[in-house]
């Protein structure tokens, strides 16, 4: 099932709620870039509050989608990464450096406002 992408003013909001397999992750990458292109969104928040596992592949897809969106001119913030997920990722050796993150959706939107200067 595709991951829903909601539009709010010039932002796109995504809350990942389901177990993500590789195919869903790649489809999401395409869908998001397409949606940025179509809507002209300047900011994106991907909320990961309900995600209880991020393995190296999902991490790579998320990292890539941030860089790809950046190339297109949209800022992405990842929010709500759970403590267990953060610990597991670092132990696994994945640091997701240079990726904007925030504690929750609200903080994520504040961060976008600051970065975009609106």
């Amino acid at each position: 099932m595709p991951i829903p992408i909601l539009k709010l003013h010039n932002y796109l909001l995504i809350s990942i709620q389901t177990e993500i397999d590789d195919q869903t992750a790649i489809q999401f990458q395409e869908d998001l870039l397409d949606k940025i292109h179509k809507t002209g969104a300047t900011g994106v928040v991907i909320d990961l509050t309900s995600v209880d596992i991020i393995d190296s592949f999902i991490a790579k897809v998320l990292g890539d989608v941030v860089s790809m969106s950046d190339l297109m001119g949209a800022k992405v913030v990842l929010t709500g990464i759970q403590p267990a997920v953060a610990m597991t990722l670092i132990e696994l050796g994945i640091h997701l450096q240079n990726i904007p993150t925030a504690l929750d959706l609200e903080q994520g939107l504040i961060k976008l406002h600051q970065e975009l200067g609106v």
Binding site: Q23, D52, I53, K60, Q82, A84, L92, G93
Partner: protein
């Protein structure tokens, strides 16, 4: 709870299946939330290695009892090409797939015990155990 379980890795979706079984077993064995995530992530990496390099294999789960501790033993068995140089794949950052998979050093860090046996042309068996704290 079934003390034993196995998931055959053939399709990409089987990776998700394996990590779901891993989490389920870890939860039933009363692992903490963080250890559940560690085990599920380690299994996800092992299953992906099978899918990427061996095409087909199996992840076996075993609830184990020692003197005064309980653990979960995960065995990833494949009949793939085998690993040429184990010391090479155990280096952080080593990859033959262009960055897919954090590799075996990550799995080793997530688990308490880690063992790898491989034979060229025969296959690879990785055994990793986590103990309930």
């Amino acid at each position: 709870m079934k003390p034993q379980s196995g998931v055959i890795i053939r399709k990409e979706w089987d990776i998700v299946g394996a990590r779901q079984v891993a989490r389920e077993m870890a939860r039933e064995l009363k692992f903490g939330v963080v250890d559940q995530a560690r085990i599920a992530t380690a299994v996800s990496e092992l299953a992906r290695n099978i899918y990427l390099y061996a095409n087909e294999g199996q992840i076996l789960f075993n609830a184990i009892q020692s003197v005064n501790k309980t653990g979960l033993c995960v065995k990833a068995v494949d009949t793939g090409p085998g690993i040429n140089d184990i010391s090479e794949v155990m280096q952080d950052g080593y990859s033959t797939s262009g960055g897919l998979g954090a590799g075996l050093p990550g799995v080793k860090r997530l688990m308490d015990e880690f063992d790898i046996k491989t034979e060229i042309g025969i296959g690879t068996t990785i055994t990793a155990t986590k103990w309930v704290r």
